[in-house]
């Protein structure tokens, strides 16, 4: 059994890749080669590369830890999100590529753990997390992103919280922050985002305080049902935080996502009654859909610019999530 916090409900060891997914991942890894040779890499790519090879081959083919050490470590030994070469992919980003943010720390921690190079008593990453606990109880690195909490993305700071407490707990350093984190997580009202609620539940589960979760989780499961599965948000619920008004969304539409569907599945496991049953039925229906249409993982479109994808459609994380859903269906886990 091997899990990663970004792919809930998934045992990485037991995923059986659908053939088109396996082919896609192999192509992705092949296309990655030249960039890896040049040190043009991000910690997110290393994580996805390792997860992809694990599921494809049962073991890594690259030494991802060495890549991290060589290209994604600063002079003080701290993990970096981006290599210097990767930083050049954006013009004038030269001074900003050196980011030690929470997800980069988590990626490094998880990969070192995978390679068996980190024991509970080696606390350097937990100490880094401690250094980034803010007076308001959230965990983020203000040197990377100084944005005040009111305008940070909820999914972002909840993800960082979930990753942070996972690291602290492993190293036995969570207890002194437990109550503080509980209070921080409890005071945040229910959000309309599956990812935010999933990461909150993940953090609360690690802390052992799931009772502090909002009691309105059913709503997010209902509103985020989109297409054959789930999307992270509901277009109709987009609201302006300042003016309190609903956004004009008549021409916008959400798209289903295997990752969001995993989030919904995990949230459903904390619910009961009709909402849970309906969510599980959708998860099952989406798993069947993905078995029949494995690559039907669309990108967003902007209003009427329907021929132009806005951002990523298929990605290694989506592929792994999609095959995991199909595997779970086959093994009757859904």
């Amino acid at each position: 059994m091997m899990n990663h916090i970004l792919l809930p409900q998934v045992d990485l060891v037991s995923i059986k890749l659908l053939p088109p997914h396996a082919a896609w991942l192999k192509d992705w890894l092949t296309e990655l080669e030249p960039a890896l040779d040049e040190g043009d890499v991000a910690s997110s790519i290393c994580l996805q590369g390792l997860l992809s090879e694990l599921v494809l081959y049962g073991k890594p083919k690259h030494n991802w830890l060495e890549i991290l050490k060589e290209h994604l470590t600063d002079d003080d030994g701290n993990p970096l999100a981006y290599s210097k070469a990767y930083g050049k992919r954006l013009y004038l980003f030269d001074n900003q590529w050196q980011q030690t943010n929470i997800h980069a720390i988590h990626a490094r921690w998880w990969i070192e753990m995978f390679y068996g190079q980190l024991s509970a008593s080696e606390t350097k990453y937990a100490t880094l997390i401690e250094d980034n606990i803010q007076p308001n109880g959230w965990i983020y690195n203000p040197k990377v992103s100084p944005t005040n909490i009111a305008t940070r993305m909820k999914s972002e700071y909840l993800m960082s919280m979930a990753m942070g407490v996972e690291i602290l707990q492993f190293h036995g350093m969570l207890s002194k922050y437990k109550t503080r984190f509980e209070a921080t997580l409890a005071i945040l009202p229910a959000t309309p985002y599956l990812s935010a609620e999933y990461f909150r539940l993940a953090a609360l589960s690690t802390i052992g305080a799931v009772a502090q979760a909002p009691c309105e989780l059913d709503g997010v499961l209902t509103s985020c049902k989109v297409g054959e599965g789930f999307c992270d948000f509901s277009v109709g619920d987009k609201r302006d935080d300042y003016m309190g008004t609903l956004k004009r969304t008549a021409r916008d539409f959400a798209v289903h996502s295997p990752i969001s569907t995993l989030h919904a599945w995990k949230i459903a496991s904390f619910c009961d009654g009709e909402a849970r049953d309906a969510a599980l039925a959708t998860v099952k229906q989406f798993a069947i859909h993905l078995k029949q249409h494995p690559m039907e993982i669309p990108a967003f479109k902007i209003r009427d610019l329907i021929d132009i994808p806005f951002g990523t459609d298929v990605s290694p994380m989506e592929i792994l999530a999609a095959s995991a859903l199909a595997t779970s269906y086959d093994s009757e886990k859904i």
């Binding site: 970004l6 997110s44 994580l47 996805q48 999100a81 990767y86 930083g87 992919r89 954006l90 013009y91 004038l92 980003f93 900003q96 590529w97 943010n101 997800h103 990626a107 990377v144 992103s145 100084p146 944005t147 005040n148 009111a150 305008t151 940070r152 993305m153 999914s155 972002e156 993800m159 990812s195 999307c231 992270d232 948000f233 987009k238 302006d240 935080d241 300042y242 003016m243 309190g244 008004t245 956004k247 004009r248 969304t249 021409r251 916008d252 996502s257 990752i259 969001s260 967003f300 902007i302 209003r303 610019l305 132009i308 994808p309 806005f310 951002g311 990523t312 990605s315 290694p316 994380m317």
Partner: protein, 516 residues
């Protein structure tokens, strides 16, 4: 100088009066359609009457035919392309728009200019309604509160309970009270404030607007009037008491039903410039020659050494020869830049001059005050969600500057409505959406997301393909569809802006010191 003409009579004859067109605005595909009839003005062979077919309350509008297109009028259409109303959607016919003729701009010189150009097109009796809109939270603190104090002669009445001042709440009131705003402590009290001071606030705004118009030489006459539009506190965009969310509109009245014909003129001008064809696709526009080959030629050295428009804060630049086909220019306290020795005031140049005056990122007031006082914080940047606008502006810039100097960098601005999409794009790439800056509207810190949407921008605006290495980041903003914003070095400003202002106003004011 005459650059071309608008052949309304020939166009209506050819199309049988059926005006059809489409546009992409805010990434929405929309169309417009209206049918017109026309007749010759018996008093003048140079004028025709046009009216909406089937309109029994016949509103006959008198047009000069043909309408001559000079630099100012072409620039005006560019200005309208940026700041003009494109129309709201007809709820009975989704995708179809009903375009009013209205113009959003607060800079008084530009309002005066637009009024004059509207009169040039609609030679009959049109009138104007000048609107000033504001969030009533503006009057809760700071400048707005002071204005209220003056209005009440120092005795601002205390806000009573809502139930006293508004005994019956309407639907909008009830909806307002239901909405949650982090910056608002008491919606009931704020709503009471709104109703208590509504008339006073409207009077203050109307007076303020009338003063500004007067300064620009616009004195409402006949049916012209000044109106104020107030929104409930924090409803329009103010985030804190005293915050402003001002909007200025100039509505053109007495020409109801002519928005479609007006949009058609604008689109035929724009497309014939873009395609560089002498006659627009449906013949409404006819240039005096191929658009790229017509228009007065400006000798850059001479312009900046002698024209009143070529002087900034009483200073002129140094310009010297730099090889056979270029000049080297330098303003005091600015970098050297290579210039082309001549620029032609083509329809493209004039149209984009207006477009930049509308949509350019430069503070408009600076463009008019630069002749009298040294400008501060000059910057050249332009935002659009459409390739055609971006391409036309880049083409104009390359007619005076080297291609590599025209664009320093570009980014994608994304309004808060689309942050959930950006978040999901991040999750697909195993990262969160990390914002930059204290309020979160700085450079997005998550490179994966910025890189993931770059291809979208290159497909929306293929003109940027040649500059694809200059892409910097995604920038989260308050509102708006994803759009592309490019900037050029500020060195270009002192060369480009005087020529932009000259193209638009050169035939109207001999001396730019006459601007208000």
């Amino acid at each position: 100088m005459k650059l071309g003409q608008i052949n309304i009579r020939d166009f209506l004859t050819k199309t049988g009066g059926d005006v059809r067109g489409s546009l992409v605005s805010d990434a929405k595909d929309r169309y417009y359609a209206a049918d017109y009839d026309w007749s010759q003005d018996p008093q003048s062979s140079d004028h025709i009457f046009v009216w909406r077919r089937g309109n029994h309350n016949v509103n006959k509008v008198r047009f000069k035919n043909p309408i001559d297109l000079d630099e100012a009028l072409v620039s005006f259409f560019g200005l309208y392309s940026g700041d003009g109303a494109k129309g709201g959607e007809d709820l009975k016919n989704l995708g179809k728009i009903k375009p009013p003729i209205s113009f959003s701009q607060k800079e008084p010189n530009l309002i005066a200019f637009a009024v004059e150009q509207f009169r040039k097109i609609f030679s009959g009796s049109i009138h104007f309604v000048f609107f000033l809109g504001e969030d009533s939270a503006f009057f809760m603190a700071g400048e707005g509160a002071e204005l209220l104090k003056v209005y009440y002669k120092g005795n601002v009445p205390a806000v009573p309970p809502l139930s006293e001042i508004r005994t019956t709440l309407d639907v909008a009131d009830k909806r307002y009270l239901m909405e949650k705003r982090p910056s608002q402590s008491s919606p009931e009290s704020d709503l009471a404030f709104y109703y208590l001071h509504k008339e006073a606030m409207q009077e203050i705004l109307k007076e303020k607007k009338a003063e500004q118009l007067l300064k620009a030489g616009i004195k409402p006459q006949g049916l012209d009037r000044v109106e104020a539009s107030l929104r409930r506190p924090f409803k329009k965009g103010a985030r804190l008491p005293g915050g402003s969310s001002r909007s200025d509109e100039t509505n053109v009245g007495s020409i109801s039903g002519f928005g479609e014909l007006f949009l058609k003129m604008m689109h035929e001008i724009e497309s014939s410039i873009y395609e560089n064809t002498q006659v627009s696709s449906q013949g409404l526009i006819q240039w005096v020659g191929k658009p790229s080959e017509i228009g007065a030629v400006i000798d850059i050295k001479n312009f900046f050494e002698t024209s009143p428009y070529g002087r900034i804060a009483n200073e002129r630049p140094n310009i010297r020869d730099h090889g056979p086909e270029s000049l080297m220019g330098q303003w005091k306290r600015s970098n050297e830049i290579i210039l082309k020795p001549k620029v032609r005031m083509t329809p493209l140049w004039c149209y984009t001059a207006g477009l930049y005056l509308a949509e350019g990122g430069t503070d408009k007031a600076e463009l008019f005050s630069m002749y009298k006082k040294r400008p501060k914080g000059f910057a050249l940047n332009f935002t659009s969600s459409e390739n055609m606008s971006l391409e036309l502006l880049l083409r104009a810039l390359t007619s005076i500057f080297r291609e590599e100097d025209c664009l320093h960098s570009w980014k994608i601005k994304v309004g808060s409505q689309y942050f959930p999409e950006l978040t999901v794009i991040g999750l697909k790439n195993a990262v969160p959406m990390l914002r930059g800056g204290a309020s979160g509207d700085g450079k997005l810190r998550t490179m994966e997301i910025s890189l993931a949407v770059k291809d979208w921008a290159l497909q929306v605006a293929p003109v940027l393909e040649q500059y694809k290495q200059k892409y910097t980041h995604v920038e989260p903003t308050g509102a708006g569809v994803p759009r592309i914003d490019f900037s050029a070095s500020s060195t270009l400003c002192r060369w480009y802006f005087p020529l932009v202002v000259y193209a638009t106003f050169g035939q109207i004011f001999s001396d730019p010191n006459d601007f208000v």
